[in-house]
């Protein structure tokens, strides 16, 4: 069909904005010997006991479908874990669905709740998939732009300003990819009050919850009056370094979960059994490794943020996840130009901010899910790059 094939593509898919930085990604993916701070997944390998459990399940011949919702054992284990770890109480049979990553849960949530044209408040900057998934589900994303000035936080004032009639839900991701922003219980109480006042559902993507450094993570659903309106998304990818296992879960009101399960059973059938077996080991015996990795990320966070600020790239302190989101405004160039030039001259890869929102062209996302050797070398190279610009009389150095 060749070029002509595009006429067969559905209009609403054709019209989805292609990622503006696809070409840059392709450039990085094809390059060798790059020091990459552009990776959105842990650099740790899945802990051995979890991998060993997956292997053992294969040896036992566990290769079948499971119940659509996931094995009862895993659902019970997660429910138990959530009650112990977060004080979050769900019914394992009616309020828990095992998904192929939190990403599937996100897709199911929008498809299950949105009638054509219904609106979803989506904060920016944010993970790239939210707005396209809302559109694919027939809904309309309404941007809620957060800025550096208020630390990229969603606040009641911002929410009120962005709210439009016909808004059905709010998407909230915390700790946030790409900003690392998270919220204290007090801040969440304000957001919850707004959701109740406007009678909104909240799709709460808490996939980075275990990587919260400065305070205890509070799940939105534990706040008064919120459990009945929160669709809670989480998974194993980030905390347990299990991205490739593609395993997540959704919890929420039984009626919504039933609707999501309907879509899930027609499209996915069930999450892979090997991953579900691995996940059981993770949820039962994984917390020690999670804490070790978290301590390591925390040190890297402190190291990279302090190094970036020393280099003159203003960077707020992220409270969670494994990303720093420094400003490159003082360089007087767009983040995509900066990313390309840095890649070209110093072979350091990072992600331009405009990947995460239209208003983020003067920020870049730096992932510190990388070894110290890499982080040290990357900081040295960025320093060298900035120094070279300074010598050429271009902007970009401290005091310039």
């Amino acid at each position: 069909m060749g070029q002509k094939g595009s006429i067969y593509v559905a209009r609403h898919v054709e019209e989805l904005p292609p990622s503006g930085i696809r070409a840059f990604f392709d450039l990085v993916l094809g390059m060798k010997d790059v020091i990459s701070l552009g990776v959105g997944e842990p650099d740790f390998t899945t802990p051995w006991n979890i991998r060993e459990h997956a292997i053992y399940s294969l040896e036992q011949g566990l290769t079948s479908y499971t119940s659509n919702k996931g094995t009862p054992e895993l659902r019970k284990d997660i429910v138990k874990f959530l009650a112990w770890r977060r004080g979050l109480v769900y019914d394992w049979d009616t309020e828990m669905l095992i998904t192929v990553g939190a990403s599937e849960g996100m897709d199911l949530a929008f498809r299950a709740i949105l009638n054509p044209g219904e609106k979803v408040l989506v904060h920016e900057p944010c993970f790239v998939a939210y707005a396209p998934l809302v559109k694919l589900a027939g809904g309309e994303p309404v941007p809620l732009v957060t800025t550096e000035a208020d630390g990229f936080k969603v606040t009641p004032r911002k929410l009120e300003a962005a709210y439009v009639k016909g808004t059905k839900a709010l998407l909230l991701n915390y700790p946030c990819n790409p900003t690392g922003v998270s919220y204290t219980r007090a801040e969440l109480l304000d957001i919850a009050a707004f959701a109740r006042k406007r009678d909104l559902l909240v799709i709460s993507d808490e996939i980075y919850d275990e990587l919260t450094y400065d305070f205890e993570h509070t799940p939105l659903a534990t706040l008064p009056g919120m459990k009945e309106r929160v669709i809670y998304l989480n998974g194993f990818s980030k905390a347990y370094a299990m991205t490739g296992f593609r395993l997540g879960w959704v919890s929420g009101p039984a009626e919504i979960l039933a609707a999501m399960t309907k879509i899930h059973q027609y499209t996915i059938m069930c999450a892979p059994i090997t991953s579900q077996m691995a996940a059981r080991e993770a949820i039962r015996n994984g917390m020690k490794d999670v804490q070790v990795m978290k301590r390591e990320y925390n040190r890297r966070r402190n190291f990279i943020v302090s190094s970036l600020n020393e280099l003159g790239l203003d960077c707020h302190m992220p409270q969670g996840a494994f990303y720093a989101f420094p400003s490159i405004r003082r360089l007087g160039m767009s983040s995509i130009d900066f990313a390309k030039d840095l890649l070209d001259k110093e072979k350091v890869a990072l992600v331009p901010g405009n990947a995460f929102g239209s208003q983020c062209a003067d920020h870049v996302r730096i992932s510190y899910a990388s070894s110290y050797d890499n982080l040290r070398e990357a900081v040295a190279r960025i320093g060298k790059y900035l120094e070279a610009r300074r010598k050429q009389g271009l902007r970009g150095h401290i005091g310039a």
């Binding site: 390059m31 993970f127 990819n177 040190r299 040290r376």
Partner: protein, 161 residues
């Protein structure tokens, strides 16, 4: 585990300035704490872990684990005889263990004969040593938490959301 020690145990090359950045402490506080650790013997030594198989011309070094059964002495128990044993430079490590023997001694030498000679002439003949059993190490898979395998290639994609 104190955080500075944890960082250094993982990578002794980490500079005080870097540790300061990682932990939010001041560089001078980190420096003086490290100095304290060095002086009070908390930090014993900084050294590299080398995979001997990768070192050219060094493949003839052999190691043996030796199980030593001893007769404990009045008042000093095992400590005195242990000291006599671990003071030999050939002894790389020495542990008192529970079970069917008493001391686990790790000995290194240029070849099997050297180690065997050390065991028969120095160790077995020692007063209070009842019995020894020598196990030569054939291959090192893991030591002090580090796996001796050539680092695998980068498995992640270079860039992802």
């Amino acid at each position: 585990m104190k955080e500075i020690l944890e960082i250094l145990m993982n990578d002794a090359r980490t500079t005080p300035d870097e540790i300061a950045k990682m932990t939010g402490k001041s560089a001078s506080a980190v420096r003086s704490q490290i100095k304290k650790y060095e002086q009070d013997g908390t930090i014993v030594q900084y050294k590299a872990i080398v995979n001997p198989e990768m070192v050219e011309g060094n493949q003839s070094m052999v190691r043996a684990l030796i199980q030593v059964s001893i007769v404990p002495q009045k008042d000093v128990g095992f400590d005195h005889i242990a000291e006599r044993i671990y003071s030999f430079s050939e002894v790389k490590s020495c542990y008192l263990v529970s079970g069917s023997y008493d001391l686990l001694v790790i000995v290194e030498g240029g070849n099997i004969q050297t180690v065997a000679e050390f065991v028969s002439s120095k160790l077995s003949s020692m007063e209070n040593v009842r019995q020894t059993a020598t196990h030569f190490l054939l291959k090192k898979y893991k030591e002090d938490g580090k796996i001796f395998k050539v680092a695998p290639r980068q498995k992640r994609l270079n860039i992802t959301y």
